[in-house]
């Protein structure tokens, strides 16, 4: 397991003749095994932050390190669940999960790992289906299973439940909390839904215009109830921070 240390991270994009700061001077330390949610309005730089951490884009300035060494995806230290499932259309659900185990030489071991994750995510019955044959919820579950197969130390999640209906979303949120406690991963979860951020995170970061404007611990016990007064207090505080910033 490992945590994350981000120092003075900057990323700018050129749009026509002007430069836009997507991520601006972000410094952050995430201890290993912490569930962190990042919340903010659309376009505040949340996704860019994750893409920089995952190495999908290069930062203009600053550094990203693991608490126990250099950061890279090759050594299974970090991986990402995207906003859309991004499943390979030519592979079945099972093959999509096996896809993450491309480095595993022992195919029996890889198969057993996929089988256990299929069971855990309730996908065993659909393992031979192609992505076009399953629902959005199942596809996102497959994408989560693929990342869990890869078994990274740190999982980055970019609004993975954003396109799902409320029932499926809540079900997957509960499953994710279970996975977090069973697999002991460091999770950085991006969302624009304040309820989701409070429901999931042990720590909530608020971003606005590429900057981190709030960093708050959320000590509510799991499983959380969004109707509890304590939950609503935290939620209101986060909303006020976003509105005020």
């Amino acid at each position: 397991m490992s945590g994350l240390k981000i120092n003075g991270l900057d990323k700018r994009y050129r749009i026509k003749d002007r430069w836009v700061n997507a991520v601006s001077n972000i410094s952050l330390s995430i201890p290993e095994g912490q569930f962190v949610t990042v919340v903010g309005k659309s376009g505040c730089g949340k996704t860019t932050l994750l893409r920089l951490i995952c190495g999908l884009e290069n930062a203009d300035k600053g550094s990203i390190r693991l608490t126990n060494g250099e950061l890279n995806t090759v050594d299974r230290q970090i991986s990402m669940v995207f906003q859309e499932p991004r499943l390979m259309p030519w592979l079945t659900v099972r093959q999509n999960m096996l896809f993450a185990l491309h480095k595993e030489k022992d195919r029996n071991k890889a198969g057993a790992r996929v089988d256990s994750l299929l069971l855990m995510l309730g996908l065993t019955e659909f393992q031979d289906a192609y992505p076009s044959q399953i629902s959005g919820g199942m596809a996102q579950r497959t994408a989560l299973g693929r990342t869990l197969c890869f078994d990274p130390n740190i999982i980055l999640m970019d609004e993975p439940f954003g396109a799902l209906d409320a029932f499926t979303r809540r079900k997957l949120q509960l499953e994710l909390v279970d996975i977090f406690f069973n697999h002991k991963k460091t999770i950085l979860f991006v969302t624009h839904d304040v309820d989701e951020a409070v429901f999931l995170g042990q720590r909530i970061l608020v971003m606005e215009n590429g900057r981190m404007v709030c960093d708050q611990l959320n000590k509510l016990p799991y499983p959380r109830n969004p109707l509890m007064s304590e939950f609503l207090i935290v939620r209101e505080k986060i909303i006020k921070t976003i509105v005020d910033s």
């Binding site: 999908l56 890279n72 050594d75 991986s79 991004r86 390979m88 896809f99 693929r146």
Partner: protein, 254 residues
């Protein structure tokens, strides 16, 4: 029912042809009765003449197609994955693409002789572009989001090409191969019409010289039938290789 529909028009044409021929509405020498053509086909098959010409033509097509694939496929991957290569080769390839392969036949005969090499060269020219352009298209249009998944799962550039880019481009590559195969078949017959000592094109050319329109018709029917059969085989093969595409189409349709 689907199969019946496919043959309705053909049966109607042959019936009309037989009727016109039987009633003496057309010159029997210029357009012999379908039964006479059927009898001639049977006679050419039993004597081994037709099979011999088919074998020669098929061998040329398969060999030419294989050579082309070995040339076009790796080059297309290289060009598709490398922007500089694409820019360097775009103009010369566009120039060559617009030249009909048969227009080069006189030069090819002059350079390579009347033997097999010139015919292979015509097939290569005809088949190259459908395979090359479709493969380049498939490779360059691979969804970058899928490539990012490979990156997020720790795959290197080569692995990303093998495990993501190529499978994603496979439907387009197979379409290119299917088109290329059809083009090579047509180009070969053209080349055999100009210079050959065996093959279906040669059979037609020889029949013209012997004033045998019935044999010309047999040649035409054989070429059409074989082309259709081979295309059907390719289609069946592509359905097996890319089953997910059919599922996607069904899903969109539902």
């Amino acid at each position: 029912m689907k199969w019946v529909k496919r043959f309705v028009v053909i049966v109607l044409i042959v019936t009309a042809w037989g009727f016109c021929s039987g009633m003496g509405l057309v010159n029997d020498y210029l357009l012999p009765h379908p039964w006479k053509i059927a009898a001639l086909v049977w006679s050419l098959i039993t004597k081994g003449i037709l099979w011999n010409h088919i074998q020669v033509s098929m061998w040329r097509v398969f060999e030419g197609f294989f050579i082309t694939f070995c040339l076009a496929f790796p080059l297309a991957i290289l060009v598709g994955m490398n922007r500089l290569c694409l820019e360097l080769l775009e103009t010369p390839l566009e120039f060559v693409r617009h030249i009909p392969p048969l227009a080069t036949t006189p030069l090819l005969i002059l350079w390579l002789g009347i033997g097999e090499s010139s015919k292979f060269a015509v097939i290569v020219l005809a088949t190259f572009f459908p395979i090359f352009l479709n493969t380049v298209n498939g490779v360059t249009r691979c969804d970058n989001k899928l490539i990012e998944v490979g990156q997020a799962l720790g795959m290197g550039p080569i692995q990303r090409i093998i495990r993501i880019v190529l499978p994603s481009a496979l439907p387009v590559i197979i379409t290119g191969m299917r088109l290329g195969f059809g083009y090579s078949w047509r180009a070969l017959i053209g080349a055999e019409l100009l210079a050959a000592t065996a093959g279906l094109g040669y059979m037609i050319m020889e029949a013209e010289e012997l004033a045998r329109p019935d044999i010309v018709l047999v040649g035409i029917i054989t070429i059409g039938t074989l082309g259709h059969l081979l295309d059907h085989v390719f289609f069946g093969l592509s359905s097996r290789l890319i089953p997910w595409q059919e599922m996607e189409q069904n899903h969109v349709g539902s």
